[in-house]
């Protein structure tokens, strides 16, 4: 190869560094994927010949949010029933979701759990090819096959309650919503949050932002973007921001800490999950909207292991505690009466929470 003129070479070097930096910036997850099977523990460790395959959505295990909630349910099943497990995460662009799902089924894992609506299209195909395997899919109920069981959530109900909590705690009359990626699913969170805030404090200002637009799903794993967006909202007068943004939420909490404001977590109890490694963030996590993917995964596995019939679609909401809010830290203790009252009204059907903004 002939020598290149220096200007071009420098350009190449710079672009190389830029690409490298971009590539490195993409690997946010700091936890490694975990081991294959339960290591027993005591002599009474339960055993089961059920082998569970679980396919995460982008971000994978270690996002301390949505995927980790599924992981917790699986871990609990491993502990209590002694099932064997294999977990796979897709690559950053998500191009190998279908391959992962298929390879789990092909390797004889049964049941196979697909975490995330993005698996729906490819699941329809794989489920037909493996009619003997039971598949669970979280966040989708569009796949109609006898061996596909859907686990869906009423996220808007929980978001309604944390929206009310945000409004009740807000002194400025201004709260914010940060969604990871603007998809119909995340708009359910937004709609519920805004309705809850309005219910608790009519006329309140609700700022809204999303970190990325599909098909770019980086917004679920972009703490820097979350922090930047939250900074803007706090500077615009918000004093409580709801981070419905998976792994990006940590950035929102950091921003809240820096600005001495409050934030609300999502999916997992982030007071605990984020606080475990970042205890300094605990004081700013007012509450978390709990989407109990862990309960959904564990309950489904329990039924599967016990050979019980599993309904085609199971909806998790406030009435069955599949959706709720966290009380860790005790920050919402003073308003718990109001929140419980609203919760009851939703369960009784007196309040209907909108699911689109």
């Amino acid at each position: 190869m002939r020598a290149l003129p220096s200007r071009r070479s420098r350009l190449r070097l710079v672009t190389g560094l830029a690409v490298g930096a971009l590539a490195l910036a993409g690997c946010g997850g700091d936890d490694s994927t975990s081991s294959d099977s339960a290591d027993g523990g005591g002599s009474a460790a339960p055993t089961s010949d059920v082998r569970v395959g679980l396919a995460y959505d982008v971000g994978g295990r270690g996002d301390r949010s949505f995927n980790d909630a599924a992981a917790a349910g699986l871990d609990q099943a491993v502990e209590e029933f002694g099932v064997e497990k294999l977990e796979l995460s897709p690559n950053a662009s998500g191009s190998d979701r279908g391959d992962n799902l298929r390879s789990l089924a092909e390797d004889g894992f049964d049941p196979v759990i697909a975490v995330g609506f993005a698996y729906a299209e490819t699941l329809a195909e794989v489920a037909t090819d493996f009619p003997e395997t039971t598949f669970f899919i979280v966040d989708d109920s569009s796949v109609e096959a006898p061996n596909v069981k859907s686990l869906v959530f009423a996220e808007e109900q929980g978001s309604f309650l944390v929206g009310a909590a945000a409004a009740l705690k807000s002194e400025s009359g201004n709260v914010g919503f940060i969604g990871g990626v603007q998809t119909p699913l995340l708009e359910k969170f937004e709609a519920g949050f805004a309705a809850g805030a309005e219910q608790a404090k009519p006329g309140i200002t609700v700022q809204t932002a999303y970190l990325s637009q599909p098909p770019d799903f980086s917004g679920f794993n972009d703490p820097a973007g979350g922090s930047e967006s939250a900074n803007g909202m706090y500077d615009n007068g918000a004093d409580v921001v709801y981070a419905a943004a998976g792994g990006s939420g940590v950035g929102v909490f950091q921003s809240a800490l820096a600005k001495d404001k409050l934030a609300i977590g999502v999916d997992s109890d982030q007071y605990e999950s984020v606080g475990a490694s970042n205890p300094e963030l605990q004081p700013v996590i007012l509450t978390s909207m709990l989407k109990r993917v862990d309960v959904a995964v564990f309950d489904s596995l329990e039924k599967f292991v016990n050979g019980e019939t599993i309904e085609a679609v199971t909806t998790f909401d406030l009435s069955n505690d599949g959706i709720t809010y966290a009380t860790s830290g005790g920050f919402v203790d003073d308003i718990s009466a109001q929140l419980e009252d609203l919760k009851q009204q939703i369960i009784d059907g007196e309040i209907t929470v909108p699911s689109t903004p």
């Binding site: 290149l4 003129p5 190389g16 490298g20 998500g94 191009s95 299209e121 098909p215």
Partner: protein
């Protein structure tokens, strides 16, 4: 870098010193070798730090990667990366940095998928229409950056990055409002499926005729042929045509090219249009050969990865093909390595390391070569200054 150093040396004086030829050969081999050693070393360190044994990892990667299913998946995923690499590379050839492939291919894929689902045409025409829409949209979106550069002097680096953001927003808006078909119980948003007449055939039948038994649920995307065709056209255009000569000349020295009669503005716009047109094809491998629609699960990030692929392939159509396959192979490895508890992010580190190593190694070797040539010239001319 010493500014007095001659920028480009005529090979003339080198010929007079026969010793240097052997060295030049050595230098040519040194760069890829150095890059490979550095990349392996850094990747191994990353693996050890993350608690894995590098040798087990490499062994698993090779063993799993040579399995027929993995090979097919690697080739299928390599196709869009190859096209993205070519798209970026066309610009590189002229010193234009089209970072906008990302936005160009997404917008092109969305509109092509929507157009394909909206019409009914006989088989071949249907596919051609979809391809035409994709190429036109990609070219038009890149053309905006070309026109901005020639008329307003806006750096294409800035404008293409901004156009990426606009394309992402526009695509998401169009999909959410006008182009999607709602499915009950789904949290997805997707365009309606393209009718069978508008789908690209797979290469499964020819493979099976050759006696290959395909693993269940795996096929070879027919778009491989399109990628090969575009690669050949790229080689002909850049390496074997007047246009290609002007292109490279403008890249090497814009002022010299202008002096020799090249219309630089026209070249800039043309190259951006070509680059964007190829970018438009990137998403079609998926739309025409796999999902038959454009939805939220559409693969993103290929345009940015394409920059790395173009750098790694050193702007040669064959080099880019190897680079694309290597990247796709590493990506595929991420799935298999998870089974032996290797963090899935490791493949991104490997990709980044390889690109950096190659860029750095070639630069180091180039400087060594220049220094040697300078010494040879001084020795030959007796200049001791």
């Amino acid at each position: 870098m010493s500014t007095a150093a001659p920028e480009r040396l005529d090979p003339g004086p080198l010929r007079r010193a026969p010793r240097v030829d052997g060295r030049a050969l050595l230098l040519a081999v040194a760069a890829p070798l150095l890059a490979a050693v550095v990349a392996l070393a850094v990747s191994s360190i990353a693996l050890v730090v993350s608690g894995s044994d590098p040798f087990t990892v490499y062994e698993t990667m090779l063993a799993e990667g040579s399995d027929l299913r993995s090979v097919l998946i690697t080739v299928n995923n390599g196709v869009p990366l190859y096209l993205a690499g070519l798209a970026v590379s066309i610009g590189f050839r002229m010193g234009l940095f089209n970072i906008g492939v990302e936005g160009q291919y997404q917008l092109a894929a969305l509109l092509a998928a929507a157009a394909g689902a909206a019409v009914e045409l006989p088989a071949v025409l249907h596919v051609l229409l979809i391809v035409l829409v994709a190429v036109s949209v990609g070219a038009a979106w890149a053309g905006v950056a070309g026109v901005l550069k020639t008329t307003r002097g806006v750096s294409e680096v800035i404008s293409t990055i901004m156009l990426n953001v606009i394309a992402a927003g526009l695509a998401a808006y169009l999909l959410a409002t006008y182009l999607q078909e709602r499915v009950e119980g789904s949290n997805n948003q997707a365009t309606p499926e393209i009718a069978p007449s508008g789908r690209f055939p797979t290469l499964d039948a020819p493979l099976e005729a050759l006696g290959v038994t395909l693993p269940q649920g795996t096929s070879l995307n027919g778009f491989v042929l399109v990628a090969v065709l575009v690669g050949v056209l790229y080689w002909l255009l850049v390496g074997r045509s007047r246009f290609g000569f002007d292109l490279k000349a403008t890249g090497l020295s814009p002022s010299a090219a202008v002096a020799s009669g090249v219309d630089a503005k026209r070249m800039t716009v043309t190259v951006m249009l070509l680059s964007g047109g190829v970018a438009g094809l990137v998403g079609l491998a998926q739309v025409l050969g796999d999902t038959y629609d454009y939805g939220l699960e559409f693969t993103s990030g290929l345009g940015l990865t394409g920059i790395g692929v173009a750098l790694l392939g050193r702007n040669s159509p064959v080099g880019i093909a190897f680079a694309a396959l290597l990247f796709a192979f590493l990506e595929r490895s991420s799935a298999t390595l998870q089974r032996i508890d290797v963090p899935t992010e490791i493949y991104v580190i490997m990709q980044g390391t390889i690109v950096l190593s190659v860029v750095v190694a070639y630069e180091v070797v180039r400087r060594v070569g220049v220094a040697q040539a300078e010494r040879a010239v001084r020795a030959a001319t007796g200049d001791r200054a």
